[in-house]
Each structure stands twice: as C-alpha cells, then as structure tokens.
C-alpha cells in the first residue's frame, strides 16, 4: 500500500532506493529478529518484515500480543539491533540541514525517572543534547503547560496520577522537537475516559506538528482514529499482514468513531486481525 518497497539484499541499494523517493523516510527490509531464550529455546520474534514509514505520516501498528510489535518499534528506534535484514532508522537519515533525524519515545509504563521532578523529567532529553539550562527550563515549562501540568513542575512522578504521568511523558517526548516519535502503547495504562481525552490531545498535537509517528496499540479504534495507515501484523513470528490506508478526513476527533465509514474500516481490520489473535492464543 502506498509505498512500494524495492527488493534488494544490499543495504546501500535499499537506502538509495528510499532516498530517491524523498529524504526523510524510515523503514526496514527483510527484517528478522531472534531472541535467545533462557532454557535454550529461541524465539523468532520477527520474520521478513518490510515496512516504510514516510515523513510526516502517522502509522498505527496493531497485532496480537507477543507478535513482535514492541521489538519492531525498538529496532526502528535504534534501541535494539536486527538479527538479519536492513534497517533504515533515524540515525541513517540525514536531513537537508545535515543532521540525523531526531527521535523521541513514549512508553506504556511511562519510563519517567522517579528521582527527577516533573520539569526535570521533561528537560532530560534537552539536557542530554546539551541545550543551555535557561532555554531548557523555558521550553520544558512551556510544554508542561501545554499538556495541562502547570503548577506541577516540582512534583515527582510517583505523586502524579496515571493520566498525568502519561501527559508528562508526552511533554518529555515532544519538547525535544523530534522528527520521529515512537509510541509503544502509550495509553495502555490509563483508564478509558482519560484515554479518550488523551487521544484527542494526541490528534491535536499531531495535526499541529505533523511529525512522523509509529504508534503501537491494541485498540482498533485508536489505530484508525489516529493513523494515516494501519499496519496489521501476524501472530509470532510477526510479519506484515495488511497495510491499510485510512482515508478519513482531518482534523479528526473522537466523534468519528461512530460514523459509518469508520465502522466499515474497523470491521475490515478485525476480520484480518481475528485469525491472528486466535492463533496467538493457541500457541500460548
């Protein structure tokens, strides 16, 4: 769908094929990943995955539990390496201004540092990038207020509610002005009502900034509501089963989930996903 992958076994050829289209895409080709299990039992988490994420697109990734979604996201984000195949991640893409793409992450368990106050958590990435202190504080403060956490600058993450922590990690990811944002079930741990609100926040934020986003989620509604594309993975070993273009108009909001076009897409997604989920349950 959308982008056709050139088949090749050689990284530079793959890279130059990507570059021909436009510069700032990221992707993977013939990617597989094996984990060495504790009891001598190896796990093939990903097998022959081909995926390209174009600049400025929001891609939702969905699939049964344990199919390798997080693994794929971590490899594309440069937090892990593939066993075989090629990856064209953020550090491989040089933008027109001559620097590699900047990435940021949102994790399900937030990954906030308990020893840092809210504002220091937000400023962490900037500090690592050696942004001067005054600017760091100013930008972090601005993002805290943008996610509705003004007044909580000095609060520690443990003292915040789940929803507040997630908004804090949202601020932490966006304050660095990344080119690509990797989100691994960012709203998985918050209650359903808060989740609806945060989804609207995410839509608004994305429509304002138009970053490249890869979102892993278990919610069909969330995948369709947020994504320009929804990529469905098979049960383990994970492969790409379906790459669905979501032609819903923007700006979007949570109300569209009750429209006819939306339910048709959801039905189609579920038809594809159902077998995989059943299969993944049989194995475990």
């Amino acid at each position: 769908m959308g982008f056709q992958l050139a088949r090749s076994d050689n990284k530079s050829e793959f890279v130059s094929n990507l570059n021909k289209e436009t510069a700032n895409h990221i992707g993977a080709q013939k990617l597989s990943k094996v984990f060495l299990g504790g009891g001598g039992e190896n796990v093939l988490a990903l097998s022959d995955v081909n995926l390209v994420i174009e600049e400025g697109t929001f891609v939702s990734l969905i699939g049964p539990s344990g199919c390798g979604k997080s693994t794929l996201l971590r490899i594309l984000g440069g937090l892990d390496t593939p066993s075989t195949g090629q990856v064209f991640g953020c550090s491989d893409v040089i933008t027109s201004s001559g620097r590699p793409l900047k990435s940021a992450f949102l994790f399900q368990e937030y990954g906030l540092f308990p020893w840092l106050s809210a504002i220091d958590n937000v400023a962490f990435g900037l500090k690592m990038a050696k942004v001067p202190k005054a600017e760091r504080i100013e930008r972090s403060r601005a993002w805290l207020s943008r996610v509705g956490l003004s007044g909580f600058e000095k609060t520690y993450p443990e003292q915040l509610s789940g929803g507040m922590r997630q908004r804090l990690s949202l601020a932490r990811a966006f304050v660095t002005e990344p080119d690509v944002v990797f989100m691994d079930e960012p709203l998985g741990a918050v209650d359903p009502q808060t989740r609806l609100l945060l989804q609207e926040d995410l839509i608004r934020l994305w429509e304002e900034t138009r970053k490249t986003v890869l979102l892993v989620t278990h919610s069909l509604d969330e995948a369709l509501l947020l994504g320009d594309r929804v990529v469905v993975m098979t049960a383990r070993p994970g492969r790409i089963k379906l790459d669905l273009k979501v032609d819903l108009p923007r700006p979007r909001n949570v109300a569209i989930t009750s429209e006819v076009g939306f339910s048709e897409l959801r039905t189609m997604l579920w038809d594809n996903l159902r077998d995989e989920v059943e299969q993944s349950l049989e194995f475990s």
Partner: protein, 287 residues
C-alpha cells in the same frame, strides 16, 4: 458524618459538600495528631520508665547494685571521667578510627560495586570471591592484620574498612544488577549513552540502595571498632569498657556502653538526615 446519606449531600449543593469534606479532613488530621503524640510519648517514655525501674530496684537491692550500677551512680562516674578528660579522649579516638575507616570503605566499596555491576568480566572474576570473603567475620581478620601491620592504628582502621567495603560493594552491585531495564531503555531513548547513562540514570537510581548500605555499615563499623579496641588498643571506648571490666569498675563500664550506644544513634541519625535531604523523592513516596 457517616450517617449522612449521599443523596442528601448532593441535594444540598456544593457549599454543603465542601463543609462535609473540610470536616472529614480536619477529623483525619486530628486523628493523625493524636497518633503522633502517642508515638512520641511511648518512644521517650518507655526508656525513662525502665531507667526509673532500674534505679528503684537497685536502691531496694532487688538487683545487685554492684553489677547493675544504678543510673545515678553511672552519671556520677560519667562526670568524673569527663572532668578528667578521659571520656572525651576515648570518644575522639574511637570516632577518628571509625570515620577514617568508614570513609575509605565507603568510597572504595561504592566504586568497586558500581564497576563490578557494569563490567561483566570483572564481575565474573571478583563477585564470587568478594561474596565468600564477606562471609568471613571481618573481626576474625584482626589477628592477621596485627601480624602484618603490627600494633598500630592501621590494623584497627582496616577492620572498619573491611566491613564497610563489603557492605557497600554488595549494595552498589545489587543496585546496578537489579536496575529497572525500562529506565535504562528510557535513558538511552532520550540520548543518555555510556557515561551519561551512568551519571544521569544508573547512579541516581542506585542511591537508595547505597544509602541503605551506608546506614547498615556505620552500625557494623561501630561494632567492629569496639571489638577491636577490646583486644588491641589502650584507648578508645572499647578499651574503656574492657578495661573497666578487668578492673571491676562496672560504673565506668556502663558509661562506656551508654556512650557507644549514643555514638551509634547519632551517627545513624546523621546519615538518615543526609539521605532525606539528598533523596527527597524517596522520602515522599514512603509516606
């Protein structure tokens, strides 16, 4: 207020609800205040009652006052020791040995523990060895140290170094080994690699465990230096206690024991205070 039905609160509107909540809060506060006062009374009162019991039963010869010197006599002995300058000097000797050994042990233990936690080959080489050595009571090293270094300050300080080193090494190592992998990943994801990862993620995240080691090892260090001074010293609080026993002066012995206990309490208190100040996030979570 427990009898007020929920519906009534709703019908009476917000201001009423606010009043109910305020009353509930002040009730909770009052309860908490009473509890705290009770804690304080019990923690201060119990020792006082015991001391009075001791005094009374010694005066009445329920217990042998020659062995269980009554508190008034202990205070008299303490005054004498202080006026002769002996007690201050002994405190000074013991504190100096303890603190020099403690600081050396802490610094080396933390550094070695962190390095072993981070570098796998070194860990494989040394971690089992250190675990085995830790199982040997450090005070048992004293004769060997005396053979090597002769009777001077070095062997005394080294027993404290040994006990402190192992406690800190083990705690720092455990902190790194058990580190939450999600936080490491989070650090890497936001640009902290290698030394930065250590400095800004692993080190601050290991501090709680290191502080536990600091608290445990100051008490152990005091035990070890006291025992060392029993046998290999002619000054210090341990010597005061041992010598008083040999001269059969139980009143002075009690002065020594009480002083050692006070030194332990004060040093531990100082470390707890430093911990509270440097780890505000942890203190707040405990509540």
């Amino acid at each position: 207020m427990a009898t007020t039905p929920m519906a009534a609160v709703d019908e009476n509107g917000q201001s009423e609800t606010g009043a109910v909540v305020a009353e509930a809060i002040s009730k909770l506060r009052r309860k908490e205040r009473v509890r705290r006062r009770m804690d304080l009374v019990l923690s201060v009162g119990t020792p006082i009652v015991l001391i009075i019991l001791w005094q009374v039963s010694a005066d009445a010869h329920f217990i042998d006052p020659r062995i269980f010197t009554p508190p008034t006599q202990i205070i008299r002995a303490a005054r004498q020791l202080i006026s002769k300058g002996i007690l201050q000097k002994d405190i000074g000797f013991t504190l100096a040995r303890l603190l020099v050994g403690y600081v050396i042990g802490v610094i080396s233990g933390v550094i070695v523990g962190l390095i072993l936690g981070l570098v796998r080959p070194l860990r494989s080489a040394f971690s089992p060895l250190f675990a085995a050595l830790y199982a040997v009571p450090q005070i048992a090293l004293l004769p060997l140290l005396l053979v090597i270094f002769g009777i001077g300050e070095t062997p005394k300080i080294l027993t404290v170094v040994a006990v402190t080193f192992f406690v800190l090494e083990i705690n720092a190592l455990a902190a790194v080994r058990n580190f939450d992998p999600r936080l490491i990943e989070s650090g890497k994801a936001f640009g902290a690699h290698k030394f930065k990862l250590f400095r800004h993620v692993i080190l601050p995240g290991s501090l709680p465990s290191i502080f536990t080691g600091l608290r445990v090892s100051i008490a152990l260090g005091l035990v070890v230096i006291t025992a060392t001074e029993f046998v290999a010293s002619n000054n210090g609080l341990g010597f005061l206690v041992w010598n008083s026993w040999q001269l059969f002066q139980p009143d002075q012995m009690y002065v020594g024991l009480v002083t050692i206990a006070l030194v332990g309490v004060i040093l531990t208190g100082i470390i707890v205070l430093i911990e509270r100040l440097s780890l505000p996030w942890l203190v707040r979570r405990k509540r």
